[in-house]
Symmetry: C2
Subunit: 208 residues, 2 copies
Amino acid sequence: MSDNESPSPRLRRKEDARAHILQAARRIVLDEGFAALTMRRIAAEVGYSPAALYLHFESREAIARELGGAGMRSLHGRLARAAETVDPLARISALGAAYVAFAREEPETYRLIFMEPGFAASALGGEDEAGAAAFALLAGAFAELAAAGRLRAAADPAALATGLWVLLHGIASLKMTCSAFLATPEEPLLASMLDSLLNGVLRRVDQP
Amino acid sequence: MSDNESPSPRLRRKEDARAHILQAARRIVLDEGFAALTMRRIAAEVGYSPAALYLHFESREAIARELGGAGMRSLHGRLARAAETVDPLARISALGAAYVAFAREEPETYRLIFMEPGFAASALGGEDEAGAAAFALLAGAFAELAAAGRLRAAADPAALATGLWVLLHGIASLKMTCSAFLATPEEPLLASMLDSLLNGVLRRVDQP
DNA sequence: AGCGTTCACTGAACGATGTTCATAAACTAA
DNA sequence: TTAGTTTATGAACATCGTTCAGTGAACGCT
């Protein structure tokens, strides 16, 4: 499996430069917001001339795309940790909480992934691996519920996962752009909506 | 009630100019997207010099804000028409369909209102009249349901309206940025989610 | 070792952006 | 008519993404 033992110091340094640029870009986005992600700003941060960035990235959008990919992997990581919850019902709550927490704690990253035009289009559509994996975590929980016979007959796990994502994204993004409107904190709102949704979807059982 | 019979041709022309500018701006956003809304582009459209725009508006953002306000009034208009449905349950469906249709047919307007940073913050928070009125339409439907005793005990109409808005915004905005992900058309997805949500919130009755 | 080639990088520039300012024309009020 | 306010302009400034002709330094080869 050794792809290349000594990766040629040339390429090594090239990849280092790429990494440094991305790291600087990430720092800027986190500290000053996505709007501050400027080629000249990045260049100053890494000690390059603005033109040098184009030797490592095609455009500013390419850097943003890469950053978005990393953000998506980060989100996937959080969801994966939440997905360790064994009970599928509690897992759904944990996944939702993790998702909303990510959006709250790294709003600029979230905006970059899901709210910037012309980029997120490919984030979940299959092209992005982490995005698909993240979605699979949600779908898995519903699939387990279905397999355990705890779902109403007509309920489709994939559709439910999509619905859950829609709900989570609705909370996360509305909170970001219309925080005054969403006076309720995210968590209680999420809990109550999840309650209603699951209440409508779960098979009713006399308490066993 | 006559505020001012002859509004002084001075002011008349000034307001005309404002209207012309906004109209041109609206045309640009609709035809070429929000990103194309440039001061120079607007100026060219209305036949002014770029600097002249600053005699009528404080900044580009002010124009965008005004446009967003108009968009919100337009959305409110659609919702108001849908709100004529008498049965509150059917009305909720109609409101949802109208909302999603607005976002689909005028995506750039929707993005301007709800997805552009630093603007939508005040769209629903009470400052904007149309926004509050639009929300009241949703809340009204749930309040009627509650008054008719068709809601579960713990259900709070205002919270439910917020939840519905979250859901609608989730569908509308995810469709815009991750259309590949939302392979399902908006309407069936909305219908099924609304079904589950209401199913979990409505008081169960033996069919009367 | 020396030579030629490739590579990483820079400085200056281009077109476009939002915005400001001095200036001129046009309209209003006396 | 004259004085003054309003409206519009053209040129300019700073900043943006991006391109391109050069400049060394590092690399591969003989």
